[in-house]
Amino acid sequence: MTNSLTRRHFLSTSAGLAGATALGGLAMPARAAGPLTVGFIYVGPRDDYGYNQAHAEGAAAVKAMEGVTVIEEENVAETQDVQQTMESMINFDGATLLFPTSFGYFDPHILKVAPAYPDVRFEHCGGLWSEGMPENVGSYFGYIGMGQYLNGIAAGHATKTKKIGFVAAKPIPQVLLNINSFLLGARAVDPEITCQAIFTGEWSMAVKEAEATNALADAGADVITCHVDGPKVVMETAASRDCFICGYHANQSELAPEKYLTGAEWNWATVYTDMVTKTLAGEPIDNFVRGGLAEGFIKMSPLGPANSDAARAQFEDTQAKIISGGFAVIEGPLKDNAGNVIAADGVSYEETDVALESMNYLVEGVIGSTS
């Protein structure tokens, strides 16, 4: 959209000017400040209480490391724009490790640029790296669905209407897994609970998110969570409609402390500092990196005051089970909301199962559709 373009162009123009003045000698010492230059690319603003903020907090941890220079660019669209940004970070800033963090950057953009720069490492968040893709590309992600499952447990105890709501951006596998996990967590408390999902179709569209939240409240949902880039609007609107809220991406408790039950947060600092340490030491990074609560890739917000004792007990018990490994959210017998069997009796998909990353269904009890 024009909105994102304007700032980008403004920034790139000013970057160009700064670069032109720096060529006289400043550029060299600036690069020599660290043997490793790491580039972070965000699809939105760095302080959005959400997806981008979570990554930027990880980048801040890298910035604090010895011998590393961090460069960042915000509001880069999932289009040709990101290819230009990556190439300028490589050619102009000398970055050799890139973190293009938005889902849509992976295919085709990273896959297209990477082969041309074999000495540069591209680490993408959420992509599904597989054999045959460029060797200098890696993908990492956290099992945040487990966090949404724990959100669901808190929600299951808090709901009085037996209906919970989910404001979702786009029907991609990670979002679907989050919706399903949120409902299944709540159903672990009470199997009667249903979850209404509303898709806004955009990662960040404030008015639509507010409308979707209001529509959920109108439909009787009394605990609401979301998967959009900046959850601030959803959280504030839901709290103003007297609904409980479960956070996502980052800790949003200060927006409505009394209404905030808990939240599924990223903890990218662990991942980024680890990858940078390996790169500095010359060690290889796996092409496919995944982790959950146990590995410190994700964490839960501290439980809010609105949680009952029973909720706390079940929450902590389940969290311990997840950390000890082998926990499965998708466990048979389970049908999707169109009546098709997705897991027969005795079949289960653990959090580490790659099959979950191509999820294309909503489970029974979710009111919503993937298209």
Partner: protein
């Protein structure tokens, strides 16, 4: 906290959506009516709206008063309008091109200065509860009406009256219909247009403040989903009438609420289609209201699109 109201949720949500979402449309289009009646088009109102949203939020946060935020947004908007008006008064300057430039400038500046205000929580504008008579929380929520909406409705009537019955209105209309006639009457068209554009900018700024200070009620870079641009189109099919602008804005608000409302009652397939409703509506209304004679009825004759 609620009763199950089934399919009634859709009309109630659309009513609520119409009231909640329409206010920015209303303010931008009212402002643009005045600007266009004077014979200029200001396409930059999208940028003014975004800048107003940022300025309003920032000032409200810093002073603790949402009303100071609204005032700041109006002032900032007036400055943008003034710049547009002044630049367009230079010879051989195209108002559409200047508008596009100011749209980009407004959003760019808003993003630049708005950085530190994405996280803080600013005070909200007050709302009046007109749904006290109903037991249904859905109806109560839908009829939580913001004071700016009411102000906008009154303003629409006031502007219509002003255009029709007052000397200022006559001056505006003369300037908009014929620069030569205006000059013959001793009016300076450029001055009138500059003031009209500044007024339009101020209203667009207030529209922006509504976005960031009431609904959705926070400042971020995705706050506007093109309301400023749609509102300019809205003026054309409101036929340059402030009263029509009010209804057109309501219609657009309702159309925007259709997608989420249908999903909430279980009509879940094809939501991308429902989200296109406001734009389909724009096309439909423009086609239906197109005139065979080729002339746009009610259009100011000095407007660059009608010349």
């Amino acid at each position: 906290m609620n009763g199950d109201i089934g399919l009634w949720a859709v009309p109630i949500a659309m009513l609520g959506g119409a009231i909640r979402v329409s206010t920015p449309f209303l303010f931008v289009s009212l402002g643009e009516v005045i600007t266009e009646r004077s014979g200029r088009i200001n396409l930059g109102l999208e940028g003014t709206l975004v800048f107003g949203a940022m300025a309003g939020y920032a000032l409200a946060y810093m002073t603790g008063s949402a009303w100071i935020g609204v005032l700041a947004a109006a002032l900032a908007g007036a400055v943008f309008g003034l710049v547009h008006g002044l630049l367009c008064s230079l010879p051989k300057v195209n108002d559409i091109a200047i508008g596009i430039a100011l749209m980009l400038l407004g959003t760019g500046l808003a993003f630049f200065f708005g950085k530190p205000f994405i996280q803080p929580v600013a005070p909200d504008l007050p709302a009046i509860n007109l749904g006290w008579w109903s037991d249904l929380p859905q109806v109560q929520a839908a009829l939580r009406v913001n004071v700016l909406f009411i102000f906008g409705a009154v303003l629409a009537v006031g502007l219509a009256w002003m255009l029709k019955r007052t000397r200022i209105g006559l001056t505006l209309r003369v300037v908009g219909d014929s620069s030569d006639a205006a000059r013959a009457l001793g009016i300076q068209p450029a001055r009138v247009r500059i003031l009209a554009t500044a007024f339009g900018g101020a209203l667009a700024g207030i529209g922006g403040a509504y976005l960031s200070l009431f609904y959705p009620g926070s400042w971020n870079e995705g706050i506007s989903s093109g309301q400023g641009l749609i509102a300019v189109a809205l003026v054309i099919f409101a036929r340059w009438s402030p009263i029509n602008c009010f209804f057109a804005a309501l219609l657009f608000g309702a159309a925007g609420a259709l997608g989420p409302a249908l999903q909430s009652v279980g009509v879940t397939t094809g939501y991308y289609l429902f989200y296109a409703a406001p734009f389909v509506l724009t096309l439909a209304v423009l086609i239906l209201s197109s005139s065979k004679s080729g002339a746009l009825t009610g259009a100011p004759r000095e407007l660059s699109i009608t010349k």
